[in-house]
Symmetry: C2
Subunit: 338 residues, 2 copies
DNA sequence: CTGAAAGCGCTTACAG
DNA sequence: CTGAAAGCGCTTACAG
């Protein structure tokens, strides 16, 4: 089963490759006729043979000649992380409908890796890139923007970057809503367990927590784990919080959340009676196991959809913009009324 | 910042594009010298300028001319499913190290979608494909194999397919181990909640459950939910099982597992006192929340790694084989001794 | 309404 | 040790 080329079709039909190419690239008009100046009968013969031979144009040749690649790149810190893979799934879904294929890459929060992936994607001639940036990736992203490849940032911002689109959850609002909720339920001693990671979305969540606490006249307190030591340090912090009589914990990232819940239960304490907890970012099991856990949804579906649509607009020459997705909270057992 | 081409470099150096291409494609020998017949000095000048100009060869032109695409395709039912995205992550990681990029697609268990994705990936000239097949995708996969594109099946088998590689968890052994474990812990009335889905891995798990039960002289019983009605039917089955005095449930897929756990808790019953449960496939929260849930790991990391290595061998002309990954079980609270 | 020809950016016999 | 030329499979002015 040899690969069929344009030339094969042309030869077999006794016409030029030009003609075949034009027929195959013609769009159907509303009335069903072809939008090109080729004789109707000839055109039909071309179409019929292409179908019969299962002709599939080479994307390489197309891309090389016309610059149209029909290829998108998506880079996240880790595709096996639910929030990222869910966004990826929506992006892939929409892209496929428009005839785009999508290449995925995981940066593992490494700027070196990020730079490599961006280079490789650019080499492949992607028409656009959707990326969750990591620390220090300003330069490599600037290089991509300079190559006129449209870029949409998701999940986290890199404020100094110019000429890119942005789609984020509204992290300031989400954390305010969390504190509001805990306050309404009667909690006052509310602490946060965060981590030392220079990522703006995390900073936003911390700052919003602090400001909302202050607005209620409460005292904010944040524990900072080293990113490499999260598993070991979180239980220690939870222990300290218990000692201090803390009533509720807020955890602004999924890994901190899972560790904190485990630590509370390992201490033989009950959620929420001994310690309430509100998690930022969701896990599929939060609504399934017992107790159910209150969380802020990442709304990855919306992030994916909006990012794709923005990228598509940018590919069509429109400028990028900024979209803030309104947060959705799930209120579970873990923050029941005190 | 215009894209730099081979021709640009050649012109600037006053040499032919042939020469530049040869230098750039030469491998370093152990002693550090270049494996080509170009004058050392000239070669160094080429290398230096390529670096200075940040020359990046066009993958399109390379692929078109030489047939080397450095592109892999991965298709799973749903990249946002943890087991699939984790395997994907390992594949991408290894592929990246070898200079391959990887395109992802979700079939959503639809054979139409699968066929489209396979066609598009083939159009893009992927060097190989790793795929979790869905029902009825024999024909479209056969087409790919006929095009001499290496294919590795993961997670599920399509036994009639010839000439492909295979990497699966040993589903027969895993389910035997589950029943063994429950038996040792004193459980006798053990039922399974499965679903009507024509997927061989699921059939294997069901059959292995049945046979192992019979080998102990116990009576197997399997509830079958319609795939489209899982969320609604599982709670009904759980209710029936409780009525019948069933002691332990086995759930052979993650969605059945989460639904079953939820249903047991919603009935106000306690795990494992009122009902034990052993789940096939893992969720990150199974070891975190309380009670911890016994599960069979999908070992997606191993699946991804082995599949990639097999694909690579096949790309190098070796035949595909079959790898069965030995199962790992986690024993949690949910199957504590009766 | 149709076709000859150039060209996208590379690689690869072939020749010297 | 180096280069002129063909060609991968398409698209696109240009000409008729």
């Amino acid at each position: 089963m040899e690969k069929v080329t344009l030339k094969d079709l042309a030869r077999e039909l006794g016409v030029s490759t030009t003609l075949v190419s034009r027929v195959l690239n013609a769009r159907r008009r509303e009335d069903g006729s072809l939008d090109c100046d080729i004789g109707k009968e000839t055109a039909e013969r071309v179409l019929a043979l292409a179908k019969e031979r299962d002709y599939r144009p080479s994307r390489f040749a197309m891309g090389l000649r016309s610059g149209k690649r029909f290829l998108l790149g998506v880079i996240t810190p880790d595709i096996s992380n639910y929030a990222f893979s869910e966004a990826g799934r929506y992006i892939e879904e929409l892209a496929h409908q428009d005839g785009y294929s999508v290449m995925f890459g995981s940066s593992s929060e490494s700027e070196t890796r990020m730079a490599e992936l961006l280079d490789v994607f650019a080499d492949h001639g992607v028409d656009g890139i959707i990326v969750t940036p990591c620390m220090g990736s300003e330069d490599s992203l600037t290089k991509i923007v300079a190559k006129k490849i449209p870029v949409v940032l998701i999940n986290r911002d890199l404020p100094s970057l110019k000429g890119v689109g942005r789609v984020f959850l509204d992290n300031i609002l989400s954390m305010k809503m969390v504190v509001d909720h805990l306050y309404e339920r009667g909690y006052r001693k509310i602490e946060m367990i965060s981590e030392n990671m220079n990522v703006l979305s995390l900073r936003d969540r911390e700052n919003s927590y602090t400001e909302t606490m202050l607005s209620y006249g409460l005292t904010p307190y944040i524990y900072y784990a080293e990113s490499s030591e999260v598993d070991a340090q979180v239980p220690v912090f939870v222990g300290e919080a218990v000692q201090k009589g803390t009533e509720a914990l807020i955890t602004p990232r999924i890994r901190l959340s899972l560790n904190s819940i485990r630590a509370i239960l390992d201490l033989g304490m009950s959620i929420p009676r001994d310690m309430a907890i509100f998690c930022h970012d969701e896990s599929p099991a939060f609504t399934t196991l017992s107790p159910t856990i209150s969380y802020v949804s990442q709304r990855s579906d919306q992030v994916g959809i909006q990012a794709y649509q923005m990228l598509k607009r940018m590919i069509n020459g429109e400028p990028g913009g900024k979209v803030l997705i309104p947060p959705h909270l799930f209120f579970g057992d873990s923050t029941e009324k005190k």
